[in-house]
């Protein structure tokens, strides 16, 4: 990069940092502003909400037999519509909010999936939200219904769901109106110890001066990572899902263009995007597929390896584009787990006799060693995809957190030294560190995609290798 470019880039980054700073300063007051605007909205939609609430109760609300809760809801709904707008926080539950910058919370919030695609604090793109609760069925709506504001916290409930930190939560405490849209106040959380002595965070939504417990969406970690089966499932086109779709479409478009160029003129020298893709394509083919799988069989697995590599790389890079939402798909364990499961299946259904023999009855070792090796190899079967899953998610999440932490310096300095001067000092420190980290993350994006692919290729190679004893 030439010197003038560096200067322009630095100037650009300073401007951006100042914009972030000003947004953050705004943010400290925006909670009340958001609430006010949401209140106005509620007034405008008063009739809709009211009607909907009635319909819901009359036709579908009681099918699941929780009639006590239902009745309570109805009364509350009426009360809310008649005089609830400005009394959402009657008891001052939201008053204790500290305005201090929370780096951990911010980082986790930014790398989490969500039901809203936010670009800075400015643009909030609503996403299709598909929620399923066994006791009330499916809900299909756009997440704009939540009227999300600062920190992607919603101000409106929709059929018993609320948005907190960009994610849909379901209100489980009885008494909350489960039908229609209702204005609510802030969110609170309480930390408690569960029966196993683990810390557990419970979120609450404040509605008409009372706290109502929220259920996070169901996760299948069995409580291992703080989740578990709850009262609802979220099948939304989330921020991560949207990013996947966009990256998949982008890659498909680019590769289609290249493929057409090959079809049009097969023996022409490649140019433009075709040349770029071909370089990477041939690198994966010649350095990954052929050496590990062999000249004879590589063509069968090449599309799989290419799909893995380019999809991971595309998503890694997509997440690195500043101000494009910093989506963290490849840093999300669910996504990498799915990839790992697919790799596990592809490797093992292609395993030949030799492969299984080497796992369960290793040739060439004494018989008493064979069971030990079988146990080790058997575990290895599972550990291989497990490491794939953890490595990719860990690396990419770590990169995102590092960048967010360096950007967070702006606000930390602002908090320590107070106001704009602190922000500017933080910006001065933040920019070189962030630039360095972003450069590093671009390398990491390639390296992790490459590592995932090369390890997959080596597992496939081991599974399909012909042994000659």
């Amino acid at each position: 990069m030439t010197l003038p470019n560096v200067r322009y880039l630095t100037a650009f980054l300073i401007i951006i940092a100042l914009v972030i700073t000003s947004l953050n300063l705004d943010g400290q007051h925006s909670r009340t502003k958001d609430l006010e605007s949401a209140t106005k909205h509620e007034l405008n939609h008063d009739h809709d909400g009211h009607d909907h609430s009635h319909d819901g109760h009359d036709h579908s609300g009681h099918h699941h037999g929780d009639s006590h809760k239902g009745h309570g809801n109805q009364h509350d709904a009426h009360a809310g519509h008649n005089h609830g707008h400005n009394v959402a926080d009657q008891h001052g539950l939201c008053a204790h909010h500290d305005t201090e910058y929370d780096p951990t919370g911010t980082a986790i919030h930014h790398i989490s999936d969500g039901n809203i695609y936010s670009i800075l604090e400015a643009i909030r793109i609503p996403l299709p939200t598909f929620l399923y609760a066994p006791d009330s069925g499916w809900e299909f709506f756009m997440s704009s219904k939540f009227k999300a504001g600062h920190h992607e916290d919603g101000h409106m409930s929709h059929n018993g769901y609320v948005m907190h930190h960009g994610s849909a939560y379901r209100v489980v405490d009885p008494g909350f109106p489960m039908e229609g849209n209702h204005l609510h106040a802030c969110f609170t959380h309480k930390t408690s110890l569960d029966e196993k002595g683990k810390e557990k965070v419970t979120n609450y939504v404040v509605y008409k001066g009372k706290e109502y417990q929220l259920d996070a969406r169901s996760t299948f970690d069995g409580g291992l990572l703080g989740g578990g089966i709850t009262s609802f499932y979220d099948f939304s086109i989330s921020k991560n899902v949207l990013s996947m779709i966009l990256v998949a479409l982008l890659l498909f478009f680019l590769f289609r263009k290249a493929a057409k160029a090959y079809q049009r003129n097969p023996n022409a020298a490649p140019s433009g995007i075709q040349n770029l893709l071909e370089t990477v394509f041939m690198f994966i083919r010649d350095e990954v597929a052929i050496p590990f799988i062999g000249e004879k069989k590589y063509m069968k697995f090449l599309p799989f390896l290419m799909s893995l590599f380019f999809f991971i790389l595309g998503l890694n890079l997509w997440g690195q584009v500043p101000f494009l939402g910093s989506t963290n798909v490849t840093g999300n364990l669910t996504f990498t787990m799915i990839l790992a499961v697919i790799v596990f299946i592809v490797v093992n259904i292609n395993g030949n006799k030799d492969y299984w023999k080497h796992i369960f009855w290793m040739p060439g070792v004494p018989v008493f060693v064979k069971p030990v090796l079988a146990a080790v190899e058997g575990l290895g079967l599972l550990i291989k995809p497990l490491t794939l899953m953890l490595r990719l998610a860990g690396n990419i999440s770590a990169g995102h957190i590092a960048i967010l932490s360096f950007i967070g310096l702006i606000f930390i300095f602002g908090d320590i030294f107070g106001g704009l001067s602190g922000n500017i000092a933080g910006t001065a420190m933040s920019i070189p560190l962030t630039m360095f980290m972003m450069a590093l993350e671009i390398i990491v994006a390639f390296v992790q995609a490459f590592v995932f692919t090369i390890l997959t290729a080596s597992y496939i190679g081991a599974a399909t290798e012909e042994h000659h004893h």
Binding site: D113, E199, F220
Partner: protein
């Protein structure tokens, strides 16, 4: 620190799992069919084509050099042949000239000989005809002498003298 306990990016959720699986499988299937396989095959074909054209070029070069060597050989043979032909021609020419000279000489000498013989024959013939002439003249003279009856001696002597002076050889 509350967030670390519920580290949401690492919580496996059904929705994201479902969509990830669906999108990746679709991506894999479509990319394999419409992009990766065609591209891989096109690359393979192109590499094969490049290799075969290189091989062909090598072969052509080999053939060319073979051809050239053959040409050189042919040229050398032709040159040799030409030299030989020239030499032969020269020899023939020399021989022809020599032969012609010899023949000419022989012819010339033959002609000379013939001419000599002719001359000799002519000479003999001339001598004979001269002898005959002289005889006739002598007889004439003798006749005339006899006819004058020898009237005086002196007159006769004169006559004989004049007659003799008339006899001129050639």
């Amino acid at each position: 620190m509350a967030f670390l306990i519920s580290f949401t990016p690492f919580q496996p959720t059904f929705g994201l799992a479902f969509w990830s699986l669906l999108i990746f499988l679709l991506f894999w299937g479509l990319m394999a069919k419409y992009a990766f396989r065609p591209i891989a095959e096109a690359l393979k074909k192109r590499e094969h084509d490049i290799q075969s054209s290189m091989d062909e070029a090598k072969l052509a070069r080999q053939e060319m050099s073979n051809l050239k060597a053959e040409n050189d050989k042919l040229a050398a043979v032709a040159r040799e042949e030409r030299t030989a032909l020239l030499n032969e021609a020269k020899q023939q020419r020399d021989k022809m000239i020599a032969d012609a000279k010899d023949q000419a000489k022989a012819e010339a000498s033959k002609i000379m000989q013939t001419a000599q013989t002719e001359i000799e024959a002519q000479k003999i013939a001339a001598k004979q005809s001269l002898k005959a002439e002289v005889g006739t003249m002598a007889l004439d003279i003798a006749e005339q002498v006899i006819r004058k009856d020898l009237k005086n001696d002196s007159a006769q002597v004169d006559l004989v003298n004049s007659l003799v002076s008339n006899i001129k050889l050639n």
